[in-house]
Symmetry: C2
Subunit: 304 residues, 2 copies
């Protein structure tokens, strides 16, 4: 299978702690890196991950709270010092643009590459990125400011050729792509060889849904239904549900309920409040509802 990995760079919440970094993740799809959120300290975490800076061309910002975007200027500045030349694309709420542009103009004079902003409306579900192999959709969420998650959706790939059958029927090279696309083969003697003899089915396309920050918000369920992996914030334990409601965050149980109802394959919870010394209780509460839950942690890597 082609590479589709999630790297957690930081999974803390607004107040910094010595245990967790501010929010940031990398989705690695076939060695193209996509960053989600960029809290303070992200560039050091990215270095620690040993992922190649030069493979990162697209950054998606869920919302404009500091713990999700204060690391951008440092990252952009460092890329400049490293004499990057490729454009860097930033997808965010439009309000980020003027703030960040003012900083770039002052701190990154004569930069060797361009930062290109792609503003989007977090309240609308829309495809904001699309290439040959994946698309990225916004997932409108419910938080104290306009916020959305992101759905990374792999595109279906062509069937795999069975090399032995191709050799056996002496199928010419120019036919191969048509067979991958599903055509049957007709031999010189007029015999039809059904496509299913010649190919094996391609890997089913995978999806990763990132949902942070958000209150419990079942409206997202149809959109993320059946995802291979769901990251859902779980800032609080159940006992702090009132606090979760006030701040428009989720409890671990609520995150698990979403995972359960959306019938996703696996759930990873994060965005942990600074008030907890460890996350065992959060994991326990989530697993009671959705057993296939794991805890985010810095430098964790999950293969989809």
């Amino acid at each position: 299978m082609e590479k589709f990995e999630l790297h957690i760079l930081g999974c803390g919440s607004a107040l910094p702690t010595m245990r967790h970094q501010a929010t940031s993740q990398i989705v690695n799809i076939r060695e193209k890196l996509f960053m989600i959120d960029c809290g303070e300290g992200t560039q050091v975490q990215l270095r620690r991950s040993r992922l190649k800076f030069s493979r990162l061309n697209h950054i998606f910002i869920s919302h404009l709270h500091g713990d999700h975007c204060f690391g951008l200027i440092g990252l952009i500045s460092t890329f400049g010092m490293l004499e990057r030349t490729a454009d860097l694309h930033i997808y965010s709420h439009p309000d980020l643009i003027s703030l960040l542009q003012a900083q770039i103009a002052f701190f990154c004079k004569g930069m060797s590459y361009k930062v290109i902003f792609h503003p989007f409306n977090p309240k609308e579900q829309a495809v904001i990125y699309d290439d040959r192999s994946i698309s990225v959709e916004t997932i409108p969420l419910c938080h104290r400011m306009p916020t959305c998650g992101f759905l990374f959706r792999e595109k279906p790939t062509l069937n795999h050729i069975r090399r032995d059958m191709i050799d056996f029927y002496r199928i010419p090279l120019w036919m191969i792509n048509r067979i991958k696309e599903g055509e049957d083969f007709i031999t010189d003697s007029g015999e039809t060889i059904p496509n299913k003899w010649l190919t094996t089915p391609s890997d089913p396309p995978r999806t990763y849904a990132y949902c942070s920050d958000t209150a419990y918000y079942p409206r997202i369920i149809p959109q993320i239904h059946g995802a291979d992996l769901l990251f859902h914030e779980a800032t609080f334990v159940n006992a702090d549900e009132t606090r979760a409601r006030q701040t428009q965050h989720s409890t671990a149980r609520q995150a698990a309920q979403i995972a359960h109802d959306a019938e996703v394959k696996r759930l990873v919870i994060g965005h942990f409040s600074a008030r907890y010394d460890d996350e065992k209780q959060l994991l326990k509460e989530a697993q009671e509802v959705f057993p296939a839950t794991l805890l985010a942690q810095e430098n964790l890597q999950i293969n989809l």
Copy 2:
């Protein structure tokens, strides 16, 4: 002696590494904390130091390169979340003000405390802070943009009272301060008791000089002469002196030469280039010129 401590929060240079944090220091004078520079990640380093956030009211920014100020907005934002009420004073080149104010206005709405800017001209030597116990002076430096260091100068304190002599001569309470200030005492019988019998000399006032970033710049020597501690940047080893000159940084030997010529008591070097895997060579080269040199490192604390 009253407390006068330096805490190194970060001593790396522009490119982040996993070994060093971006530049920041805390000067702790009698439990008043003064921050010098505030690179990305400083707030986490401050937490790690276990110094009390509430004791920090004054931040001095040497110059507006990102590795010296990108941590400000995160720190300011966190202080807001912690419901700080005391004013926070920031001393910097005037260009910082509008950039940071725009960020504060957007990210820190309804903040519980005020940030007060004190712009200064880094090209002039001037006292920019003054209270009962210390003053802070700018030290104009030589770098690619307007930059200054800071000289923390303790004020002379009054002589110490000798409790045994006060009791012996039955000196009344209202006379004590005058004796601390140097007056003699005249007994009821008309005998003059010289002040030196009644007091012991106060501790000599201490000074800490912070000089970063700068090329080798002997013009600072008279101002920092005799300092108890000098922090001087030593970005490069001697072999990279050409690079040091191009980027207007110093080598370890140049830092030590300044320390030697200024007859300071101790030198601590920092702002290490990301190109070195360890700093032994820098230390060796500095100590050849000025033996009382030590290497900065994160979480190092030095008592003056």
